[in-house]
């Protein structure tokens, strides 16, 4: 399976995701944002980081870069697209995913391992997880507070497009287990065709027992299926 990781000035999780993809047997290529041709890819990853120093709004400038037209074209043709952290923010700025990421409720940058629950395992991204499985996974962001209009929120709930919700160790989804103030504790969403996933937590940081755990592995093995 071929993957492409898009790199912007200020991306800083691009090597981590590339390592994770190679470890999981993807044939990966790095693609600089100024490119106008995307290599043939089954999966496009928009990595985490601080593209363009978060100028204007997180992801706003990267969302208008040259390669993005190609990403949008590929996504509309059914290519799988994964946006992690800043990548999720960029995907909302391109319009590929609806809603936006506001500043964390308590205005603090949060870098810690939290729990999320798998809300839909009938997708190409999550098929190897069990439904309601609880994952321990790292978040590191300042703008992760998911916000969308009430019509879209109703739609994603009805169509089962919420990928992950923040929860506690026992799986309770409530205000106490919501680290950043996201609506409905949303940590990740799909588009309506479920070929695009945007998520704030970092699965690429959870693929090796030596440095963390392996709760992110099944996301990549689902994609390989």
């Amino acid at each position: 399976m071929k993957s492409s990781v898009i790199v912007f000035p200020g991306s800083n999780c691009d090597r981590d995701i590339a390592d994770a993809l190679v470890k999981m047997q993807f044939k990966n290529q790095m693609v600089w944002h100024k490119e106008t041709n995307l290599p043939k890819s089954d999966l496009i990853v928009i990595p985490g980081g601080f593209s363009y120093g978060d100028y204007l709004r997180s992801g706003a400038i990267a969302g208008k870069s040259l390669i993005i037209d190609e990403v949008i074209r590929a996504a509309n043709a059914g290519c799988l697209v994964l946006g992690i952290c800043n990548g999720f923010q960029i995907l909302t700025e391109t319009g590929l995913l609806q809603g936006t990421l506001l500043r964390n409720k308590h205005l603090k940058f949060i870098n810690k391992d939290i729990n999320i629950k798998v809300m839909n395992n009938k997708t190409k991204f999550t098929s190897k997880y069990k439904i309601n499985q609880i994952l321990k996974i790292n978040i590191a962001h300042n703008e992760g507070n998911y916000f969308t209009n009430s019509k879209h929120l109703a739609e994603i709930k009805k169509e089962n497009l919420i990928a992950f919700q923040y929860c506690d160790e026992k799986g309770n989804i409530n205000n106490d287990s919501n680290p950043n103030g996201s609506m409905e504790n949303i940590a990740g969403i799909f588009n309506s065709k479920k070929n695009i996933l945007g998520m704030m937590p970092h699965p690429e940081r959870m693929v090796d027992k030596l440095i963390s755990n392996t709760d992110g592995v099944n996301l990549f093995s689902s994609l390989l299926n």
Binding site: L56, R57, A60, K64, E93, G99, T100, L102, R103, K105, H106, L107, F147, T148, N149, G181
Partner: protein, 79 residues
């Protein structure tokens, strides 16, 4: 031709920064302070003599990049 663009979070979107600034000013003794919303300000110069066309261009800039219409609203003024 010069324009100013003010971008501010919509009323129903929580503005924690504005709230913190407000609380701090109240701590400084500004008792009659009612509310503060924090926003962004752009000064834009356009090489165009026709005001309608220039204003249209600025509006396009707002919609394409400067403003996230999901959470923000904006106001354009000639300066």
């Amino acid at each position: 031709m010069k324009f100013s663009v003010t971008v501010i979070l919509k009323k129903d979107v929580l503005d924690p920064q504005g709230k913190v600034v407000q609380n701090t000013l109240m701590n400084l003794g500004m008792d009659n302070l009612k509310s503060i919303r924090q926003g962004k300000f752009f000064e834009i110069e356009i090489d165009e003599k026709n005001q309608d066309i220039a204003q249209q261009k600025v509006d396009e800039m707002c919609k394409k990049l400067l403003v996230n219409l999901i959470i923000e609203e904006y106001k354009i003024s000639r300066i």
